[in-house]
Amino acid sequence: MLFPSTLLPLQDGIEDLLSSSPQLPDWSTYAAVAFGGLAGAAFAARRGFDFIGVLGLAVAQGLGGLLLASILLQTGTPFVLTDGWYLVIVTVAGIVGFFFAGLIARAVQSAILFDALSLGLLCAVGTNMAMRSGLNNPPAVFIGVVTAVGGMILRDVLAGRAPEVLRPGIFIAFAALVGAIVFVVLVDIGATRTFAQFVTVVVVTALRFLSVRFHWATREAKDFSDRVWRLWGRKPADALDPVTGHNDKVR
């Protein structure tokens, strides 16, 4: 539905039982998917993919996360397929991305807010789906993060690159993690799912946006093993080599 009538908290109960589509107003999920599709298409077009490749990566990034969540939760046919609009939107995004890749790439750079909003929406939708399937909190958080970043991971894997979201950089997966945890905690202390979804969207969007604005970045793994060794009273072992990650010094 186009009008956000699902925001009424009264509808929570029956809506939860009956519908398998996300609980946020549909147009917001459509927007998130469209934005993912545009980003994926622009990514592919600028790396020399052909028409099918651009469409494929648009679908992968736009729908990948929601598809993964639906498949993992086994909620019947994924709702991105039963609701035909999703594929139409992503295809249109792919076509637009095919012809205006440079423009979109520049627009995506400057429209970080939309990117962040799309991340937040997907995270909220995914966590909500997981909670509605009756999962415990930790798996629900996992599903939320997968929904939010799964599309990007899928895109990178299809393009033969190391997934960008898993490497040090601005808060993407981390923002989704925080948002999903916020959702789960809010629902646990008795907030309605709709309210929790709103807060999640705000939190994820804000974190993602601010991390770009203030250059917050996630860090690579550090090694505190030597402290444990010292505590243990043993000679500290060689730390892992920061470049290779191996413990390959000759002792």
Binding site: L135, V165, L166, A221
Partner: protein
């Protein structure tokens, strides 16, 4: 746990998931990932095989989402993130655990397949998927060529042999217990022996030249080597 599927003690499952997660985390470290990356790869390595199997079966929510395996995997990821050198000392233990348990996952996968009435070949495939799926996911996420698919130790090969043994014995004798024991032992034994005696799975042999000479099509004196 579905009926007719091998029940594994929770302790062993927890140890296997955590061990797999630690191995995945150490792998992801080498790829310079951040915490979310390490946690994601650790979870995928720890529970990936079972997840792929359950998704393929498509009749229930994957087991790892119903039990708190994700927490175990996250524990492994945290350990791998902050104490890489420390937990890398655990690698031999994880290796031994993995060697001993690979047959268990094969049997569980095959039994779950048989339980929903799949054909024998499909059950073998599910067993193989359960055993090596986590490693495959890890390698794809770390952008390596999946080690399970390359010439090397008998891991996937041991899993296939074990799955075929299980399905065959189960089909012809109906002794499920015997089939389980034989399959689990065979997988562990094959893998251990291949490690001990450096057995390497062969890569493709090109017999076409020999075949052409046998047919009398190729008159050259010696068969040429392709690679």
């Amino acid at each position: 746990m579905a009926a007719g599927v091998l029940a594994v003690p929770t302790l062993i499952e927890v140890a296997a998931v955590t061990g797999g997660a630690i191995a995945g985390a150490l792998h992801a470290r080498k790829r310079h990932m951040d915490f979310m990356g390490i946690a994601f790869v650790a979870i995928c390595t720890g529970v990936g095989g079972g997840a792929i199997r359950d998704v393929l079966l498509g009749n229930a929510v994957p087991v790892f989402l119903l039990q708190n395996f994700i927490l175990m995997a996250v524990v492994g990821a945290v350990a791998g993130y902050f104490f890489g050198a420390l937990v890398s000392e655990l690698e031999p233990a994880i290796y031994v655990l993995d060697t001993l348990l690979i047959g268990v996952w094969v049997v569980i996968g095959a039994e779950k397949g048989l339980a929903v009435g799949l054909a024998a070949a499909a059950a073998v495939f599910l067993g193989l998927t359960t055993a090596i799926g986590g490693g495959l996911l890890r390698d794809v996420l770390c952008r390596n060529v999946p080690t399970a698919l390359m010439p090397g130790q008998w891991v996937a090969a041991a899993a296939i042999v074990s799955a075929v043994l299980f399905v065959t014995i189960e089909h012809f004798t109906g002794w499920r217990g015997v089939a389980e024991v034989v399959a689990i032992a065979a997988a562990a034994l094959l893998r251990a022996l291949s490690a001990r005696y450096n057995w390497v799975t062969p890569d493709a042999v090109d017999a076409s030249t020999r075949f052409r000479r046998w047919l009398g099509l190729d008159r050259s004196s010696r068969p040429t080597r392709v690679n």
